[in-house]
Amino acid sequence: MSKQLTGAEIVFKALADHDVEYIFGYPGGAVLPLYDELVKHKNIKHILVRHEQGAGHAAEGYARSSGKPGVVLVTSGPGATNMVTALTDAYMDSIPLVCITGQVPTHLIGTDAFQECDTTGITRPCTKHNWLVKDIKDLPTIIHKAFHIATSGRPGPVLVDIPKDIQFQKTEYIKKEDVIKKINKVATDINSKEIEKIADLIVKSKKPIIYSGGGVINSGDKACELLKDLVRITGFPITSTLQGLGAYPGEDHQFVGMLGMHGTYEANNAMHDCDLMINIGARFDDRITGKIDKFSPRSKKIHIDIDPSSINKIIKVDHAIVGDVGNVLNKLIVVFKKKYPNFKNSNKENISEWWKQINKWREKDSLAFSQGNKTIKPQYAIQRLYELTKNQDTFITTEVGQHQMWAAQYYKFQKPKRWMTSGGLGTMGFGLPAAIGVQLANPKKLVVDIAGEASILMNIQELSTAVQYRLPVKIFIINNQYMGMVRQWQELLHEKNYSESYSEALPDFVKLAEAYGAVGIRAQTPDELDTKIKQMLKSDKPVLFDCRVEKVENCFPMIPSGKAHNEMILGAKDEKDTKISKQGKVLV
């Protein structure tokens, strides 16, 4: 008979089996046996956060930037409920997380015991799957399955709820391989006929667009290379969703910028007017499509996605292939190269008019802004940050709001997994804990959280975590003293009724940084900005950078209420044009 191990020992043996390096967590009564065991495992480092939500987002940052699952360990009751936002965030953006929660002992479940809550009930809608371990014999299998489910197919968060008595009970360990081989995997074959059809559509198209999403990044670096390959051999323009930024180099000429609500004029117009749309690993999110009825009315649509429920959910497509983006692209490229060698050159003329049109749209310069010499424009701040950091491998996280959209517009990503933002759920307070996870996964690299002064206060306590573990994350606050995106919507859609969107009593961020043991820097004028940014980059400590910017700048371009891709409001320049201004007013 093989050795009997306690529940706590089994958990850590399984974590080691899955090559877990870091656990993000916070101790409490129902997980004390696990924390007892933790100290015996020197290869698994525990990062003590200041709030459980921070643990969740840090694990997400780790997962998003490394491609490996993030692991969280929190206690029962409030520990578990504080994780709900992070789990939902990970679920919406398809991020693999394994969350282990403590639970009150089995005989107390259902008695309203101290720090008891129905964790599996509460987290059922925000996890891919969850388990309450009622029998110690199930524990090893459940942990292995948890890792498998979190990382396979469309990735997502899972949760394992372990009652305290189960953590003490003993059973035999089961190896990872013995569990995984028993899991019933239904392979999805890639339909060769559909691949052929897609290849033929590519050849026929006169106005094509490739629209790629986070699925490409989730599929892996190989998929990103294949995407580049496809764009190169076809000569087609490519746009990307918020989550997909970095899968294709942002500075490349064939990249027409991000699409959607705050996407570029050229990307959205190309989406509207195209005759062939190739969606690779994106999900036709409502921030992308605008008004559904008017979404790209004249195009044939192809959708490649690993999740069958994404197909025809919002937009009916003509051809769908369910499968891992990397595998599908690989097959498509092989078929295409064989059938149509030297396609790019022979097809140049066929799509030259389309490129001419796209370049005309580009001339609108929809991301233009005017930087005066008094106050810093938020766009300028991010542009300077980009210029001063683009020569090193930089990782950017964000909070949620205007600064997030400006970061997506003005920071150009050349590689995948360099851009970590809360897209689906839109969680303010995501960026700082995420940056901590990113920094742990990428120790020597520059990690910047582009933040807003409102968002940063939602999880500011994690600055203490950054200081404790000497993680030199840079928090670049675009401080306009407003919840900027709320203010913008109120200006454009609610008759300038700025209800509760102004922050009356902000902290002094420089002093706040110092109180935490970090470095505080403030920039107030455009001419001191570069020097201050350089000062931030030189520091080997966490830095809270208070960048005071224009208070009422709006984030443009923008697709307003219930409008289509070709009905965008452009920036300030455009507003001055009386004709469009009138139209603009009708639109909102």
Partner: protein, 188 residues
């Protein structure tokens, strides 16, 4: 014209709504019904009735039958979403047509005087209901048929001392030699 304040709030679906019977094969483990029911409520789908029982004692598989309403694309989406649940391994949807069989069961209690009892029994006999319990002033019958037929039966009994009704939702099965295959595209 009402002024629209928030973006993207208009619904523009023009498809017709139909009644469907969804059949879901699941591992009979704790919480599985909550997962299925939660999916329906969380995504705004309607559950008209729900029937569940274990159908395979060895593999511990339960068959959940749910009557729901939706457009074609909603029904397709429900199926796809159900298949994403880990304990679900097979999903089928049935429509009222000549390809499938539907059955519901009703238990009906009548309490009344002698005169009405006779009249009520006459109706029961004409529908072919089975007597499960009879006393001098009451009886219970079992009636299984389609939803429409049970509705008609209840309507006729109503004036004659109808006291209690218990009904299952519908069960559905494909006619002929067809069975539902494990769905393609089930990914873990």
């Amino acid at each position: 014209m009402t002024k629209q304040l928030s973006a993207y709030s208009e619904s523009s679906s023009k498809e017709t709504i139909e009644r469907h019977i969804m059949v879901v094969w699941v591992d009979n483990e704790s919480g599985v019904l909550a997962r299925v029911a939660g999916l329906f409520s969380g995504r705004g789908y309607n559950i008209e009735s729900l029937t569940v029982a274990q159908v395979d004692d060895e593999k511990h598989i339960s068959r959940i039958t749910i009557a729901t309403n939706g457009t074609f694309s909603v029904i397709e989406q429900i199926k796809a979403q159900l298949l994403k649940l880990i304990p679900v391994y097979k999903v089928a949807s049935f429509k009222v047509d000549d390809k499938s069989i539907f059955r519901e069961l009703a238990l009906i209690k009548v309490i009344t005087d002698k005169k009405n009892l006779e009249k009520a029994k006459k109706i029961c006999n004409s529908f072919g209901a089975q007597y499960l319990d009879t006393t001098k002033t009451s009886f219970i019958v079992e009636f299984n048929s389609t939803r429409r037929e049970i509705d008609r039966f209840i309507k006729e009994l109503k004036p004659y001392g109808l006291a209690s009704i218990a009904r299952t939702g519908p069960l559905a099965m494909a006619k002929g030699a067809e069975i539902t295959e494990v769905n393609k595209g089930k990914v873990l």
